[in-house]
């Protein structure tokens, strides 16, 4: 379990992290979401002991990162934003060095390195100098480094940055797999990634926590779905048919565009938890306006995220 309490980091007058508190329970994959410069990397660097906080505590599996750094670091595998690899070593040499550095017993070293190499598909580049590897393989070597020593907790700073689409999919499934046996915290500014992989999302902006919940709950809490109706017919006829669904003073009609001669597209707010598509379709048909298109648009995590990070004070609502 990871507990972060009232974490603050100041760089001169600049507040990089501002009174951040959260808890990540064992066995969760937690996504750390925020725009660039939100303080994600700073927070992760503090959690792993690379930086010291100005104020606040970090407890990693019961060890305080400042009072018992070695105990805490023993349980963490950390993949920083830039994979910390030495260009003049081969992948195998590098992983051996990391295993020694993390005090993996000599007997287990080889087996562990082999496992990690297999997990990350590093076999083909095992004996190549890291300097000659592509960005994707470097990133994977950095990831392999984090897994060495079988840490209970993995802290991954943008683990899929620089990978190609196939590798991204592989890495995500690896993270999901690892999430079954490890506590994982990963940062990302790719929302679909977080929505897909994580069981908990922490949204931060300007160093402050804006929301902490499951992706589903976050989406539900905003409860807004919209219907896009395109129908043929005169504008008045279509609107009249939609009147029963449009709320008072037609406030439910969010947008209205004339597609072409005799075709109208209406964007309609749908009440939470109701599906009124059938009723709308019937009403329009009865009014003599055939429906050309009718689709539901759910608010994506993307929009929630944008809304949260732009307005900046939604924490209480969620």
């Amino acid at each position: 379990m990871i507990e972060v309490r009232h974490l603050t980091k100041r760089y001169g007058d600049h507040l990089a992290v501002d009174d951040l508190s959260f808890v990540v329970e064992d066995g969760t994959i937690c996504g750390f979401l925020g725009p660039n410069g939100a303080g994600k990397s700073t927070t992760m660097n503090i959690m792993t002991g690379c930086l010291s906080p100005s104020e606040g505590d970090v407890l990693i599996n019961g060890h305080d990162i400042l009072d018992d750094p070695e105990g805490a670091k023993r349980t963490i595998g950390y993949l920083p934003e830039n994979p910390p690899v030495y260009p003049d070593m081969t992948v195998y040499e590098y992983l051996t060095f990391v295993a020694e550095l993390k005090k993996v017993p000599a007997k287990e070293r080889e087996a562990q390195i082999e496992t990690v190499i297999a997990d990350l598909g590093l076999d083909p580049v095992c004996d190549r100098l890291i300097r000659n590897l592509s960005k994707g393989y470097r990133q994977r070597t950095g990831f392999a480094q984090a897994l060495i020593g079988n840490p209970e907790t993995l802290i991954l700073d943008e683990p899929t940055a620089g990978l190609d689409p196939k590798q991204i999919i592989e890495t995500r499934s690896l993270i999901r797999e690892l999430g079954k046996t490890h506590t994982v915290i990963l940062s990302s500014h790719i929302l679909s990634e977080v929505a897909e992989v994580c069981s908990k999302v922490l949204i931060i902006s300007e160093g402050r926590l804006l929301a902490a919940d499951t992706p589903e709950n976050l989406a539900k809490a905003r409860h807004r779905t919209e219907l896009v109706v395109t129908a043929e017919g005169a504008e008045e006829d279509v609107l009249r048919a939609l009147d029963p669904f449009a709320g008072e003073g037609r406030s439910g009609i969010l947008d209205l565009t004339r597609e072409s001669e005799g075709t109208i597209r209406v964007r309609l707010a749908q009440p939470a938890g109701e599906d009124i598509r059938g009723q709308i379709s019937r009403a329009l048909f009865e009014a003599g306006c055939p429906v050309v298109e009718l689709r539901e648009e759910k608010e994506q995590l993307e929009e929630i995220f944008l809304e949260l990070t732009e307005t900046g004070s939604i924490k209480e609502e969620v």
């Binding site: 792993t48 690379c50 010291s52 950390y78 830039n82 040499e93 990391v98 550095l101 993390k102 005090k103």
Partner: protein
């Protein structure tokens, strides 16, 4: 510590720096031995050792410039900081690796007195005292070079600063004769030192007021002491600068005198370099 030590040692020889440094040192030692002892028939080894000191200008920057500057540049320091090891053991591991590389040519150099003995020379103890002093001086330079490397992100800047440091500490003894021993000179010199100290205080804390206050207090203390006890100040410039004078501390050994204070002088530099490196890395985390 072992992991770091092994890794550093290997990387010294995979990226050429170690090989270059060892080769240059062997070349210079060999040339000096050949020139003084074999060609000119000098009966002791100390001329050869003393004149070999110029290899430090190349070997020390080459060996030390990358130690921590490169870790910072490649961001691999995050691996070291997040690993379950103390900063002290990281620094010691690296330092011992540097010392080991340096010990290789010195070990070869230690064979030369044996060759001279075979040719009938009898000052073996003196020769080895010289070599010991040379080794300690090198270790002190490596320690300072490592500290310099930990203060910057650029290996080139680290190398240049090491060369400046070596130059200053080697040339200082020849400058002493030009410095006036008067008390007023000493006062001015101490005030300049106070300004430096204040600058360091400012750079460490980023509080200009604190730096100015430190300077004011130090300068006032110096001035007050000057008016109360001017005699105490005469010749002070030299005695303060002595702490940077590597060559004099070395030449006592080279003259054949085994002295513990001189030994401690170099050991102090070695320890100070290591401790300051740990501090400088730790400070980076807090800044």
């Amino acid at each position: 510590m072992r992991a770091i030590y092994k890794k550093e040692l290997r990387s010294c020889f995979t990226n050429m720096t170690g090989a270059v440094a060892v080769a240059v040192m062997l070349l210079v030692f060999g040339l000096m031995f050949r020139y003084y002892n074999l060609y000119n028939g000098v009966l002791t080894f100390h001329y050869a050792v003393s004149n070999s000191a110029l290899v430090f200008y190349i070997a020390v920057p080459v060996l030390t410039m990358r130690t921590f500057a490169d870790e910072k540049r490649l961001k691999t320091d995050q691996l070291l900081f997040s690993a379950p090891v103390t900063l002290r053991s990281v620094v010691l591991g690296k330092y011992l690796a540097l010392v080991t590389v340096f010990a290789v040519p010195v070990a070869v150099m230690s064979l030369y007195p044996l060759i001279m003995r075979a040719l009938g020379e009898e000052t073996l103890l003196w020769d080895y005292t010289c070599i010991l002093a040379f080794f300690l001086m090198g270790c002190a330079y490596l320690s300072v070079g490592m500290f310099i490397s930990s203060c910057t992100e650029s290996a080139v800047i680290a190398a240049m600063l090491s060369v400046v440091f070596i130059f200053a500490t080697q040339m200082l003894s020849s400058v002493f004769t030009m410095i006036s021993a008067s008390a007023l000179t000493a006062l001015l010199f101490l005030i300049i030192l106070a300004a430096f100290a204040a600058l360091i205080v400012y750079l460490m804390t980023k509080y200009a007021v604190l730096g100015i206050a430190a300077f004011a207090v130090l300068a006032c203390v110096c001035a007050a002491a000057y008016f109360l006890r001017p005699d105490w100040f005469s010749g002070r410039t030299e005695s303060v600068l002595r702490v940077l004078d590597f060559s004099t501390h070395f030449s006592d050994f080279a003259g054949g005198v085994f002295s513990v204070p001189n030994l401690l002088f170099f050991v102090t530099y070695m320890a100070a370099g290591v401790i300051l490196t740990v501090q400088s890395l730790d400070r980076r985390r807090w800044s």
